[in-house]
Symmetry: D2
Subunit: 167 residues, 4 copies
Amino acid sequence: MLCGMFIKFLTTGGTIDKIYFDDLSQFEVGESQVQHILAEGLVDLDFEVVALMHKDSLEVTDEDRRRLHEYIEQDHARRYVITHGTDTMPETAETLRDLEGRTIVLTGALTPARFRQTDAVFNVGMAVATAQTASPGVYIAMSGQVFEAGAVRKNRAENRFESIDRN
Amino acid sequence: MLCGMFIKFLTTGGTIDKIYFDDLSQFEVGESQVQHILAEGLVDLDFEVVALMHKDSLEVTDEDRRRLHEYIEQDHARRYVITHGTDTMPETAETLRDLEGRTIVLTGALTPARFRQTDAVFNVGMAVATAQTASPGVYIAMSGQVFEAGAVRKNRAENRFESIDRN
Amino acid sequence: MLCGMFIKFLTTGGTIDKIYFDDLSQFEVGESQVQHILAEGLVDLDFEVVALMHKDSLEVTDEDRRRLHEYIEQDHARRYVITHGTDTMPETAETLRDLEGRTIVLTGALTPARFRQTDAVFNVGMAVATAQTASPGVYIAMSGQVFEAGAVRKNRAENRFESIDRN
Amino acid sequence: MLCGMFIKFLTTGGTIDKIYFDDLSQFEVGESQVQHILAEGLVDLDFEVVALMHKDSLEVTDEDRRRLHEYIEQDHARRYVITHGTDTMPETAETLRDLEGRTIVLTGALTPARFRQTDAVFNVGMAVATAQTASPGVYIAMSGQVFEAGAVRKNRAENRFESIDRN
C-alpha cells in the first residue's frame, strides 16, 4: 500500500442500506452495509466509516447537504466514498464540486445490499477504485460507469444513471 | 456514456471461475462468471467478453502469456479487464507493460465467484472503474487496492496482494 | 419416488414473496419465489405451482380463505404446501382443518426469499418434507418446527411461531 | 414447542461442508455449516450439534459407521439429523436401521452450503421437519423427497437420489 492511502467512507442512507421490518410490514434504511461489503471484498487498506445520516435520498435536505459539505471541508482525508440514495445523488454531488484537493466518489445501489442479487457490492468496488485512481474532483460510480459530477443524471424510467451529454 | 467507452473482458480462468464437480469430488475452472457479475452490477456500458483459456494460474505458461499479449496487440479496444488466477497475476501483468495506449486491468478472486461470500464481485467492480479512470498502463485490482504492474506481489502466507514497496 | 407422490403448491403472497420497487421506494408482493426455491433445492418430485393471490396476510379476507378452502375441496391432490404471509397464517390454517384426507402444510418466511439471508428456503424445505411424512391434517412449518393447526400462534413481539400450549 | 422436542445433529462431513482452500488450490471438508443454516432458518427449538468427523463419504469406513452407530446407541436423544456425504449416505443409513425408538434422518448436499446456489439449506430444512413428523426409523431426505433407509440409492449419473422401487 502506498504510504498515505486512506479512504474515508461517509454513509448517508439510501436504497443500498434498506432492510425489511416484518413487524412494520415496511422497508426502512438500516445500519450501513458498507463495512460488510469491504470485509467480503477482502479490502486491505486503511479506512474509516462514519455514518452521517440514515435517509432515503428523497428526504435529504439542503441542510443535510450543507452538513456533508462542512464535514468534508473540516476533515483531513483526501479520498472519500459517500454512499447515498440514488434519486438525488447527482444533486448532492453537485454541491461538493467546489471542495478542492480531494477525490470524492458517490455511489449507492438500485437494489439493497442485503438482497441476494444486488448491484451494491459491484458499485462500492467501483467507488473504492475510483477514489484511488481518479484525479481530485467529484464523481458518481453507478451503472458500471464513472461519471463526473455535473455531467450525470438518474434516468428514473430506465432505472439507470447516464451522462447528460448522451443522445 | 462518453462516446467510445467500451471495455473488452478477457477471461483466462483462475479461482474466480472455479466450480465444484460432485462426481469428480473436485474443483475445476468452469465457464467464466464475469458476465453474471456485470449483469448483477447493472452495468450499462458497451463491453464484450472473450474467453481465452480456462486455466488455474499456476498452469499459465509463457506461451499463454504470449498469446494474451498478441491478442491485445492486434485488437482495437483501448480498455481491458483481464480475469486471471491470483498466483501468477503479477507475472502476467509484467509481460503486458510494453503495450502502449491501452488501460489494462488484471483482477480475479481469492474465493470463487459462485460462493455466497466472495471478493469476486467487488474486484470486478474495481477493475471496471479502473479501466475507465486510470491513465494508459497495466494495473492489478485486488485486496481493495489498485496497484501498478511491476510494483505488486501476492503475499501467499497472508492471502493478499501488496505493494512491493511495502515494509 | 413412490407412485402417486405429488405436491400441489398454492401461493398466496406474504413476506416470502416481497420485492423492493425502487421507483416506488416501497416493498410489495411480487411473483412467487417457490419455484426458484424448489429448483435450487434440486427437488425431483412431481409438483405444480398455482398462484391464487399476491397478498400481504394482513389483507387476506374471509372471502379469500373461502376461495382457498374451495380450491382444495374441489381439487384432487392429497398433499398441499401453501405459502402465506406470517401474520395471519394460523387463522388461515384453522379454516382448513375440516378438509379430510389431505396433508396441508402452510409456510412462509419472516424475511423475503430474495434476501441474501432468509428463512424462506429452510421453511419450504420443511414444508415439502412434512407434506410427505405427516398424516392427513393441517400443519404450519415455521421457526424450525412443525405445528398442528389450532395449536400455534405467531408471537409478534419475538418474531417467531410457537405452540399455544407453551408457558 | 412440545415439551421434549429436541434434535441432535451429528455432522460427518461430505460435500455440504466442503470449502475451497486457495493456497492448496483444492477443496476439503471444513467446519460444519449446519449451525449457520439453522440460524438463518430462524430455528427456535432445542438442539445440539456434534461434529463426529470431517470426511468425504467415499472415505467413510465401516469402523466410522460403527462409531456412529455406537454414538447413537449410547445417547439419549430420540431425534437425530445426520449430515453426511451423498455418495455413501444410503450405506450408512442401512447400518442404523436396527436402532429402535429413534427417528434418524440423514441428509447432505450435492453442492456445498457455502455456495450461493445450493441445495444444502432446503435439505436440512427437510431433515429437521422429518425428524419431528416421521415415526421412529431411518430416513434420507434428498432431492426433495423423504426416503426410507433400504429403499433408496444415489443415481450418480443423474446426480439425484431415487427410490429403489422406481421403474
